[in-house]
């Protein structure tokens, strides 16, 4: 369970998450991709905290902040999706292209 291994796994999660964020049409699925990316960040952070930062509590704090980011983004995302679904009946990105050029 070396640091490299942790970071590689985190990289894998990040890659999967990015794939999801880029490829999914549905807003919800897209956000799942984003969550996986946060997931990866937390894992990497935990690894680095444990191996390279000497357990600096700022790392823990950072992890809390990461989770806050995740929570806030998800909540806000859902609120916005709800809103846009209500008046636009849009649940995939392709339906929102009025604002362009």
């Amino acid at each position: 369970m070396s640091l490299e291994a942790v970071l590689i796994v985190a990289g894998g999660l990040f890659g999967i998450g990015l794939y999801g964020a880029l490829s999914q049409q549905s807003f919800v699925m897209l956000m799942m991709g984003l969550e996986l990316m946060v997931n990866a960040a937390i894992l990497a952070l935990a690894g680095l905290w444990a191996a390279s930062a000497g357990g600096n509590p700022q790392g823990s704090m950072l992890a809390v902040v990461f989770m806050t980011v995740m929570a806030v983004e998800m909540a806000m995302g859902f609120a916005l999706i709800t809103n846009v679904y209500r008046i636009r009946k849009a649940d995939i990105t392709e339906k929102l292209k009025r604002l362009k050029r």
Binding site: L18, A21, L22, S23, Q25, T93, E94, L96, K97, R98, L99, K100, R101
Partner: protein, 666 residues
């Protein structure tokens, strides 16, 4: 009293005349009166030799002086101008006040010219004379041709003015002053430049080859205008300048020969033109060129004094001849020599004109003969063959002079068509003619011993001692010429003599020189001008356009290549991960694609470039720089597809590039 009176008095008078132009009598009186005043002050100035200066600042100063030959000129000008203006006042009807005012102003400008002691003042006067002559020549402006002729005259003489600009600038560069006397201090290239400038200026003003044809255009003006222009003013300026400056240019070895050559050529050519021309004023104009050619020849031969004497003599008889021509034209209503023959009907006029013609033909004891003898002497003193040529010129001169008189004022020849009653000249006209004829006769006094010394002292030059051989040769030539012409006249072959076709090759006469000028100078300039204007409207903008187009095409090419690279990367990696098998085939395909697309892009670029370099038909007002930038703008807008997942791709690729840049650049 300063010399300023001489130029300013006429100018003020002219202004006044223009102001009171509604009162005909007042204008005429004012004109004549002012000229008399000028004459008086000129005589006074000639005696006292005053000087004056007018500071312009910035290192510029106008300096005037009445000394040397200008003592003669300041008197000569009003002397000639007076009868001419009186004649004009008596004969002209259309725009009389304007004409008189301009004539008087012209006298003022000319006075300034002869008073000038530095090149700046000279140039000022030189150009003013030219400009007023434009107004005088184009006096009858309602006919379109006249103003064109005036413009032609002005522009041609202005080419000569460049010579003076050149001379003035080089003189200043060399010596820090414009003083005419300072020319002697110059050396090297600047001296040559000054000499060339002076020569060009003088040649243009005095209607020497190759500028001679402008005098024909100048015939568009009323006859008094021609009389004044050709005699003591305008045209004489060139010869006057040479008389003033030539002595300081002796160190320029090519100057004198060139001046002589120009004069010689013009004298001969002008003589031929005068001999063949059917239009009386044009014939006289040709003779003017020829006579000034003679003066050039004299200057070139080193006989400045003879040139000066010839200048004075010519001024008097040429004014007389032009006014006579005016009388003749007035009498018959035509300027054609073959329709005249007024000898029986206008006896007095014919007689007075005869005086002028004799002077022109250099028949002793007239002053004209004296001065020509001096020129012959000078030429012989220079080189033998120059002397011989001068004798030939004397022959030609006598020939056309006698032809002119015989046709215009000689015994009436029968020609087809009804005899028209002639209009008789009025008293003022006859007085004017008489005055000038008197002046010409008076010059005969030069034959009196002491005349030579007087001329030498007045011009500051020296006269060559004439040889008897030269004199006899010249007299023989003149006599032969007169005799031949009379003989020809009897035969009725004088109107269209041999060689007429040669000189009248074209409308403008002068051996087709105007046509040549048109083909060689005016035409190309105008064509260039129109071409450049077209270029300016299209191509300079098009240059900007082409640059923009190239930029756009480049950006397009780059974008295409980038797209290609991106696609290649995407497809390549994805293909590798998903469908290994087809990788090779696809790669090859893509390479081909890339090559094709690259070529296409290149061709596109080339096409755009060539189209725009050759693009003259595109709406010229279109500012294509903006248009091209605008197209770039639309292209940029195109990136904003409105689709979030595209934006996500931008972000992702952008982040990758960011990392790359961070890693690579420092």
């Amino acid at each position: 009293m300063t010399p300023w009176t001489l130029p300013l008095l006429p100018v003020v008078a002219a202004t006044l005349m223009f102001a009171v132009r509604r009162r005909d009598r007042g204008v005429a009186l004012l004109g004549v009166g002012s000229l008399i005043a000028v004459l008086v002050s000129a005589l006074w100035a000639a005696v006292t030799s005053p000087t004056a200066a007018w500071r312009w600042g910035g290192g510029l100063e106008l300096t005037l002086a009445v000394d040397g030959f200008s003592r003669v000129m300041v008197v000569l000008i009003p002397v000639v101008a007076l009868p001419v203006v009186a004649y004009a006042a008596a004969t002209e009807r259309r725009g009389r006040s304007r004409l008189l005012a301009l004539l008087v102003a012209f006298v003022g400008a000319m006075q300034l010219l002869v008073l000038a002691r530095d090149l700046l003042t000279l140039l000022v006067a030189w150009e003013l004379v030219g400009a007023i002559s434009w107004a005088l020549i184009g006096h009858d402006w309602k006919a379109r041709g006249n103003s064109q002729a005036a413009a032609h005259a002005f522009v041609t003489t202005r080419v000569g003015d460049l010579g003076l600009y050149l001379a003035a600038g080089l003189l200043f560069a060399g010596t820090g002053t414009f003083d005419l006397a300072a020319i002697a201090e110059l050396d090297g290239a600047r001296l040559h430049g000054v000499a060339a400038g002076v020569l060009v200026a003088a040649a243009a003003k005095s209607a020497q080859l190759p500028f001679a044809p402008w005098l024909f255009s100048a015939m568009a003006g009323p006859t008094p205008v021609s009389a004044l222009l050709h005699s003591a003013t305008l045209v004489s300026a060139g010869a006057y300048l040479l008389i003033q400056v030539a002595p300081t240019l002796t160190s320029v070895d090519w100057f004198a020969p060139t001046v002589a050559a120009v004069g010689l050529a013009t004298a001969l050519a002008g003589g031929v033109v005068a001999f063949t021309e059917r239009h009386i004023k044009r014939a006289l104009a040709g003779s003017t060129s020829a006579q000034y050619g003679l003066m050039f020849l004299a200057v070139g031969a080193g006989s400045v004094a003879a040139a000066g004497a010839q200048l004075v003599a010519h001024a008097l008889f040429k004014a007389l001849l032009f006014l006579s021509a005016g009388v003749a034209i007035h009498a018959t209503g035509t300027a054609r020599l073959d329709r005249m023959g007024l000898g029986r009907r206008l006896t007095w006029a014919a007689g007075l004109a005869g005086v002028g013609v004799l002077a022109l033909a250099a028949v002793p004891p007239l002053g004209g003969a004296w001065s020509k003898e001096q020129i012959v002497a000078g030429a012989f003193a220079s080189t033998r063959w120059l002397g011989a040529t001068t004798v030939l010129i004397a022959f030609v001169t006598a020939a056309y002079a006698s032809r002119l008189w015989l046709l215009a004022f000689g015994p009436e020849r029968s020609y087809p068509g009804p005899q028209q009653p002639v209009v008789r000249p009025g008293r003022v006209e006859m007085v004017a003619l008489g005055t000038l004829a008197g002046g010409s006769l008076l010059l005969g006094l030069l034959w009196v011993p002491g005349g030579a010394e007087l001329v030498e002292s007045l011009t500051g030059g020296s006269l060559a001692h004439g040889t008897l051989g030269g004199f006899v040769a010249a007299m023989t030539a003149i006599a032969t010429a007169v005799g031949s012409v009379v003989w020809l006249h009897r035969r009725g072959r004088l109107v269209s003599p041999v060689g007429a076709e040669l000189t009248r090759r074209s409308e403008g006469g002068w051996f087709g020189l105007p046509v040549a000028a048109g083909t060689l100078v005016t035409g190309p300039v105008l064509r260039t001008s129109r071409g450049l204007a077209a270029v300016d409207d299209r191509v300079i903008d098009a240059g900007v356009r082409a640059a923009a187009a190239i930029a756009a095409a480049l950006s397009r090419t780059l974008a295409r290549l980038a797209e290609l690279t991106f696609a290649t990367a995407v497809d390549g990696i994805a293909g590798g991960a998903i469908r290994l098998a087809s990788l090779l085939r696809r790669r090859v395909e893509q390479a081909v694609d890339a090559a094709v697309a690259g070529t296409a892009a290149g061709t596109d670029l080339l096409a755009v470039v060539s189209r725009h370099l050759d693009d003259r038909a595109v709406d010229r007002t279109v500012e294509t720089l903006a248009v091209r930038t605008g197209q770039l703008g639309r292209r940029s807008q195109g990136s904003q597809t409105g689709l979030s997942h595209h934006y996500y791709l931008y972000v992702t690729v952008g982040a990758g590039l960011l990392a790359l840049v961070l890693a690579v650049l420092r």
